[in-house]
Symmetry: C3
Subunit: 460 residues, 3 copies
């Protein structure tokens, strides 16, 4: 096989063609929803709204910005742990997310915000587009270091499409609750990415083994990603919840779950090391599993101690996964999972989906109040014969649909990405920025001397 | 003394036991407050609230997230300035804060949000838990590099307990104003930590002197912490202020104070260097003293120029402290204050407490308006014989109580932490990540060459 | 010429004198606006406001904090790309911004918030002060590495003054729309800075050429700045827009423009490299041009696809500028533009101004609705003979005024900064932190060994 990693024509053409197509489609289809349109001034009078604050903007803007930080800084920097792949981690994540949010506005728009003629966008669409791209960032973690930016654009194109369809099935047909996306974002993204990684299996990846580890400073950069994901996860899980108590509860639950998850991740990391030392990989990743695991139930009545339990379990399972499962997946199943997304998003996503099914099936009027139950599950819009038990079964169905879509979609996309002309690098050059980036020469002397002889002494 | 830093059983057992206890206590005691409960839907009708926006969530969520960033990224990265202690700074701060917020929800809950049967939590509890942990992060700065994570968990357990009691005395018994916590958070945290450091005095710490300095990049990581603390401090000081003008005023005052503080910190840093050069330690720390000093008065009528004066003074005092006081404390009083928390939190916290007493004692109807005065000091809830003078004296009393609690508590906790089996390192191994962390090997060649010979040239 | 870079007296005196003057002026002039004053409690009753949420604080606080992050972390870290100038980039940006916001509160206050006796400040003033300082940060980018902190303070003093006058002319006399400041902030700041750089031309700058490049990690630090600017730009462009739909629309438009800009920046960066490799300089800077270009039209009816087109064009033009224009400016016009602000803020700012003139001149009732049009352009406050065409011409006039003010002001300030006693460094010592900062010695061995021989093995 001839490896040609020179993207001089392929990458520019891909970017420009995609963007021109997006502009054309936006021109034909995308308009502002009422509360972002100047006609809102009249609408306020018609709807008898007392204040501009009733504009959706003020309910969701802070959460939106937090989610935005998670996608670009959170995921971007989390993946900078590799010693020579920092530019690509941050830069390709930036590229795929910037493309993905535009395509998601269209795909999700057609399926969910289409008024027959136009897609009407407001802040909720932007949040949902960020969410959709979040699942692509998850999948990127599985193939990190082994694909070209052109492959990433293609993967994003397909994954956003499949994500939107899967989301439509879950939210609109099965009417499941999944406000933080345990199923639609995390489980779907992880298993999609793992399937792609499986198809793209590289038998000689050990040739770039040396670059698969971190350095001292690359691990600190990665902690920037970890912490912004961890801190803003309450916003992630509450961003599109119902106004009022649901948003409030989702934030509290996620806060609790993540706190518990840190303690069990630390515990297991130390217990599984022969000298009791902590492993940065676990601290960077497993501590976040509590946010993933709470994605489905965040706005439901799990109670704070229920959230703690979920975080407790996810921290343990995720750390165990990093120690035992990732090597197993690579050696036995030929799945090379660079960032261990199976441990951070895969299993915790499934746990979240199961927790959602269980929590929904035990919902009752005592716990929620009569109006509260109707409001929480949107029953007035739904079938009359609604029951908690049925909701629970639909939740479980949603999990299976997500996994099935991820596996089938991952196979198809993986096969497309295996075509040899996307500019991928040979196995021995994986995890290396210099393949796709102009890299600065290191300064001759790395020492920054306080009394540099090249500096003229100042006059006294 | 036999030093055993292998935490393989001690750290996991401590984490898991604590977390299991927390889950049990949360299960028995913690429920959602009304505005995070599904019954809120009915409550809105009963209370005749016009909109979901009246949910406390929308008043405080942006401030909460900013405070959250300050605790985890702000304090965490501020301490990464040490050349070989970045993992521990960020990682142990992460661990103790994640444990501390859970324990604080319980302790503060029992004392302040207990309805006789349950602790009812909403967003304000989360903010207060973060605040409480902030004082532990301050104390951590004093002992940074010299304690094991097990010691930190124990210190957090006790300090959160003492903090909650002290806070209860100040806010509920003495009814002082301290919305940004000059007294409860900063002065208490600093003197508690310094007392612990005094008890844990290490006579041979000079053996790890070499690792007590920074490197070029570790200083830049620390600036991430500094800036997020600096930028979000207006949120910190306004997060639990009264709705409306008080929150608004607290943000403006803090913004002003911090801006002034930067100028005087820079001025003093340059003036105190024989060649007029700036010292990163001062820029990283003293610039923040203006936020600490404004913690008590932030929501009071100090006026913008009063805030500037406080910031002006704090910047000067704090920088002087780093240059003259820290060496004095170490050589004469045997207090080894790794991060100089005495200069950043100790003295400015006392200045803040005094400023609060003065500002309260000159409060009057001209300045606040009649309703404004009652609202600002919550007089309707308090004794009828309220007077500004009395309030001022209670404020001063609050400062003394905080200092007394810190000193007494610090001695007790210090003695407990001196027990030899918590996994602490010998003096010559302080400030070293490798004691508790798996550290990556540095790559053989640090040079990242643009034209790496190991990269196959792409086909033309 | 004798170069004396010892600032021991000059910098402290400058900082302290300026701060004392600011405190005096704040004491005489600055008070709280009504919604940050305790009399607000009564005001609510008088104005019949239903809720504390009507306090301006709740409309704008999240946007304010995002803008604050952009100024201090965004601009500060964006400039850390230089290998030996990270302390100065972050530190001097911190210093000039902290001084600038105070001076801007006064200058903008006298011109726009003066009630005859006092400047009444609220959150909007803080945002505007941050905006004003943003233009100084832009200018700083042009002279980065070549000026002393004393020069920066002087530049800030004058630039804030000129900015405020220019802003007054545009917003109050010409009544142009420029909520995100394409003209007032970006074009003004860039051409002011470039003119200063032109006057301060250093013929022997090639002597410090070696330090003008980046290192691997300095580029990652710079990406922190890039991403926080990119992510929070929707807040920047919407922060002072009208309540409701205008803020909402400005956020959506900016989000779209920035996303498109990333794709065209990547495309051009790859296409212009002989091996198709990406250049970090473009990814760090050109990706942001879409935010600059949308500054004037953000709240107008450009529609999402119009925003995409602006972002598309700005990404291309900006990347071309970095490749072709910056070398041309240096070699032919003797303008040494360290950060390439001409490409990121100059040309995109002009594009934004032109887009504003075009968009305003095609405004009509179909697009905005009758009340919407009046509200969007504030027509009720303005002359009766308002027409879109006239608005368009005033917008164009505003752009010319901004450019003229920048060039004339830049010449004057440049001449002042050329005086030889401000502590500037000789050409061969530019881009070097050690001139003004105490720099840590690099540790003897940079290797952090996992099994450090200096660490006593733990007892079994």
């Amino acid at each position: 096989m001839i490896w040609n990693t020179n993207l001089r024509w392929r990458l520019p053409v891909a970017c420009l063609l995609l963007e021109v197509a997006l502009i054309a489609l936006f021109g034909v289809f995308v308009r502002y929803d009422m509360d972002a349109d100047p006609h809102w001034v009249q609408e306020k009078v018609i709807k008898n709204l007392s204040t501009d604050l009733e504009n959706e903007f003020y309910y969701r803007y802070p959460s939106f910005q937090d989610v935005h930080v998670m996608i670009f800084v959170g995921f971007g920097f989390l993946m900078t742990f590799l010693q020579r792949y920092g530019y690509s981690s941050v830069g390709f994540n930036f590229l795929l997310a910037a493309f993905g949010i535009q395509w998601a506005l269209l795909m999700q728009g057609w399926l969910q915000s289409f008024d027959g003629r136009y897609i009407l966008v407001d802040l909720e669409n932007l949040i949902n587009a960020d969410f959709c791209v979040g699942s692509v960032c998850v999948a990127f973690g599985a193939v990190l270091g082994k694909v070209s930016p052109v492959q990433l654009l293609i993967m994003t194109l397909f994954q956003v499409t499949l994500f939107s369809i899967n989301e439509y099935i879950l939210l609109n047909l099965l009417e499941v609750k999944d406000s933080g996306g345990s199923m639609t974002i995390h489980a779907f993204g992880a298993y999609f990415g793992l399937t792609v990684a499986w198809i793209l299996y590289r038998p000689n990846l050990h040739l770039s083994k040396e670059r698969q580890s971190s350095t001292y400073h690359s691990d600190l950069f990665a902690m920037i990603g970890t912490l912004f994901l961890w801190m803003y996860w309450p916003s992630f899980n509450s961003a599109i919840s119902n106004h009022g108590d649901a948003q409030h509860r989702a934030a509290i639950n996620t806060y609790c779950s993540l706190a518990a998850c840190v303690l069990t991740s630390v515990a297991l990391s130390s217990a599984l090391h022969r000298k009791g030392k902590l492993d940065m990989v676990h601290i960077q990743n497993a501590t976040l599993a509590g946010g993933v695991g709470l994605g489905t139930v965040a706005e439901l009545m799990v109670l704070p101690f229920g959230s703690l339990i979920i975080g407790f379990v996810c921290g343990i399972v995720s750390t165990l996964g990093f120690v035992y499962l990732t090597p197993f997946l690579e050696s036995r199943l030929h799945i090379q999972d660079t960032c261990g997304v199976h441990n951070l998003h895969g299993i915790p996503g499934i746990i979240g989906g199961i927790a959602g099914a269980v929590t929904a099936s035990i919902a009752n009027i005592d716990l929620y109040g009569e109006e509260g139950l109707a409001y929480a599950f949107g029953i007035e819009r739904s079938k009359l014969n609604w029951s908690p038990n049925m909701q629970g079964r639909f939740q479980a169905a949603g999990l299976f649909v997500s996994l099935a879509m991820a596996l089938v979609g991952g196979v198809i996309v993986g096969v497309i990405l295996r075509l040899p002309f996307w500019g991928q690098a040979p196995d021995e050059n994986c995890f290396e920025d210099a393949v796709y980036w102009e890299i600065p020469k290191e300064p001759k002397s790395t020492a920054l001397r306080s009394e540099d002889s090249s500096i003229k002494p100042p006059e006294p």
